[in-house]
């Protein structure tokens, strides 16, 4: 049934739609007796930046963690290129090209920047020098701090390191969990610009954000979650101008 609904959503006319990379179908996730996700449907096409918005407790992080294998859904499916991947553990999913930047960054505080990045390439036999250089080109600030310990970096730098570390695993899809959390607006803007750049270099991005305005400005499409279900979805520009979104998430009176 869900397949037919998905087909309906194919954009009519215009450019041909890119193939679906990641798809969540009727996801239901429980924490004990609490139903955190009540049937979430979501698709991410190749080359897109998809923003997942919503208030605290709407289920954004749960959705992302389910997609990256940290939580197993009770019902529903997670599909990567049409193949089911739900139930696969997160450390194995890395090999399928899913890079997860967890909430709160999670850099290794007592490893240096370089060691952190090397850990990011853990799934490979050896560290690709070109990948490391790419990270340092994207984030020059990390290049200046190669031997500094992760825990001594500023919040913004830690976020950059977390993203850089995920890139070292050569992900096809990058899952970002609130990269703007606790950062100054200027840094957030910088990080979003770099995420956009990463996307333009060919990585698909699924982004969880509270910062709706900035996320939608960068994203191609967006989903708005409310109490564990998708309340709205559409082109980012449409959502950005939608009065309901503006009222609820952009702090404008209706």
């Amino acid at each position: 049934m869900s397949v037919t609904t998905d087909l309906k959503k194919e954009p009519q006319g215009g450019e041909p739609a890119a193939p679906v990379v990641l798809e969540l179908r009727d996801l239901r996730v429980f924490y004990g007796a609490i139903e955190a996700l009540k049937g979430v449907n979501l698709t991410v096409r190749r080359g897109e930046v998809v923003a997942l918005l919503g208030a605290n407790g709407a289920g954004k992080t749960t959705t992302l963690r389910t997609a990256s294998g940290m939580i197993a859904p009770r019902e529903g499916q997670v599909l990567l290129h049409g193949e089911r991947i739900d139930g696969i553990k997160s450390h194995d999913l890395v090999r399928f090209g899913i890079g997860h930047v967890p909430e709160g960054r999670g850099v290794f505080p007592r490893m240096t920047v370089r060691e952190n990045l090397q850990m990011g390439a853990y799934r490979f036999k050896s560290v690709d020098k070109a990948d490391m250089d790419r990270v340092f080109t994207l984030f020059p600030r990390l290049g200046e701090r190669k031997s500094q310990l992760g825990g001594t970096l500023s919040g913004g730098e830690q976020q950059m390191l977390a993203i850089g570390r995920a890139l070292m695993g050569k992900p096809e899809v990058l899952l970002l969990d609130e990269p703007s959390m606790g950062l100054a607006p200027l840094i957030v803007q910088q990080i979003f610009e770099i995420v956009k750049e990463i996307n333009e270099q060919g990585t698909t991005v699924l982004l969880v954000e509270q910062n709706a305005a900035q996320a939608l400005r960068m994203a191609d499409r967006g989903y708005v979650l409310e109490t564990g279900a998708v309340a709205m979805e559409g082109e980012a520009s449409e959502l950005l101008s939608d009065p309901r979104v503006r009222a609820a998430y952009l702090g404008e009176g209706a």
């Binding site: 940290m70 450390h91 890395v94 999670g106 850099v107 505080p109 310990l149 825990g151 977390a162």
Partner: protein, 466 residues
């Protein structure tokens, strides 16, 4: 001293209007008393240490006169000698500290203390390293030939066995960051495996084996026991895991003690000693401790070789990552449960080898040889020497096992562990990273002092639960 008082007054003058009292609350809190300065605090600590040492080395108490020890210790000349030594140490330290801090001012690299200098020479050249290692190994192998029989016994029965145990526990706690308080349970399993397979227990094995052939079996048994205990419990962390392993130890200990029909219970077991019989060559380990010693040195060297290779492999890096942040480790593709299980099983099997070696050396053991205290002592050796650092762990175990034996000649034997305790307390206050810390562990403590992450061995770096 005078500077501090003046700043305190200055702060008081800055806010005369807001303060109702002459000295505002903030100024009062900001004031640094002279005795709070590091220099004077160090003197205080040293004086306290001197008094403690006087009490420890002084008159022994009696039940007839309860205050005899106190009276004697505080009136005699001894106290003044100790205090004088304390003041002298303090003066030398402060004086030298002034000199060095002045000397290094402006220079980039601050070399602190003689250890740092040794380290510089050490890292200077491969030849130095090889030379030192060969010398140390030669000393370890041949040195004990020259010591008394009693010390040779201590070296084998205790030091070598505990060094092996400490190296094993180091993998579990130092590298993977799992707090295992039931480590000795695997030691017991190893010892009882040796007893069972050599036919020393009331229950007979299908085939009686040579002690050496028991080694791989014991490794396997402990591996399986480690996995059985670990698989359901390694999702727990820190304190919880410690309690579970503690429970596991008690189970093993009580079974050994009470299952008379299987383990001989508290009567203990007599085990044959090591022997080799290959037809063309046969040798029997008898009462002379040295052959056992060389055998154990071989075990230790083999274990060190294997573990060092592991530490510098992907496995070692995975352990570090797990210790730092489990969620992030999983997100970078480290199968966390598998590697934790691996560390646990490796530690367990090392403990098992030590158990077989112990049983085959002493020839007789009973459940009391596997009391919980030993688990805690091994943990103390690892922490004392420097968690995660092989040289540190070797030194920690060797030194702390040797010390009580050595003290036997000097103090009342009943008091020996008091000195050990005092040493551990002092050590944890002034050098929590251990005698020869690993580079990483040192970082952890430095960062903990700077308020980034915890200094405990096993907690996640940012207090995050997986």
């Amino acid at each position: 001293m005078s500077i501090k008082t003046s700043t305190a007054q200055g702060a008081g003058q800055d806010s005369p209007k807001s303060a109702t009292a002459p000295l505002s609350a903030a100024a009062r809190l900001r004031r640094v008393h002279w005795y709070q300065e590091p220099r004077w605090r160090r003197l205080g600590a040293l004086l306290a240490l001197a008094v403690t040492l006087r009490l420890m080395t002084g008159e022994e108490g009696t039940t007839q006169d309860l205050f005899l020890a106190l009276r004697e210790d505080f009136t005699g000349v001894g106290l003044w000698v100790w205090l004088a030594i304390a003041v002298a140490v303090w003066a030398v330290r402060e004086f030298l500290a002034d000199q060095t801090s002045r000397a290094v001012k402006g220079t980039k690299k601050v070399s602190s203390g003689p250890l740092e200098r040794v380290r510089q020479v050490w890292s200077a050249g491969k030849r130095v390293r090889m030379g030192v290692l060969t010398a140390v190994l030669a000393l370890v192998v041949f040195g004990p030939l020259g010591v008394e029989r009693y010390w040779q016994q201590v070296l084998v029965d205790q030091i070598a066995i505990f060094v092996l145990l400490a190296i094993g526990l180091n993998v579990v706690i130092g590298w993977a960051g799992l707090l295992d308080l039931g480590f000795i349970a695997f030691f017991a399993i190893g010892a009882y495996s040796a007893a069972y397979w050599t036919g020393a227990l009331p229950v007979q094995p299908p085939v009686a084996l040579n002690n050496f052939l028991v080694l791989p079996i014991a490794v396997l048994t402990c591996l399986v026991a480690g996995v059985i205990l670990g698989a359901p419990t390694l999702r727990l962390r820190g304190d919880y895991l410690a309690i579970v392993t503690l429970g596991f130890h008690e189970i093993v200990y009580l079974v050994a003690k009470n299952a008379d029909g299987v383990t001989e219970g508290a009567r203990g077991v007599k085990v044959e000693r090591f022997s080799v019989d290959l037809g063309f060559f046969s040798y029997e380990w008898k009462l002379d401790p040295m052959p056992y010693y060389w055998l154990l040195v071989a075990f230790v060297v083999l274990a060190i070789f294997l573990f060092l290779r592991l530490e510098h492999s992907k496995v070692g890096r995975a352990w570090t990552a797990i210790r730092e942040d489990e969620v992030a480790a999983a997100a970078t593709g480290v199968p966390t449960v598998r590697y934790k299980l691996m560390a646990f099983a490796i530690g367990a099997s090392t403990s098992g080898v030590a158990g077989v070696a112990y049983a085959s050396k002493v020839g007789y053991f009973n459940p009391e040889n596997f009391a919980i205290l030993l688990s805690i002592l091994v943990l103390a050796y690892v922490i004392f020497g420097g968690m995660g650092s092989i040289p540190g762990v070797l030194f920690g175990a060797a030194f702390l096992v040797w010390l009580p034996e050595y003290l036997r000649e000097w103090v009342d034997p009943k008091d020996r562990y008091m000195y050990l305790g005092a040493l551990l307390v002092i050590m944890m206050i002034y050098r929590p990273q251990g005698v020869l810390p690993s580079r990483r562990r040192k970082r952890e403590l430095q960062m903990a002092e700077a308020g980034i992450g915890g200094a405990d061995a096993t907690g996640p770096a940012e207090g995050r639960q997986p």
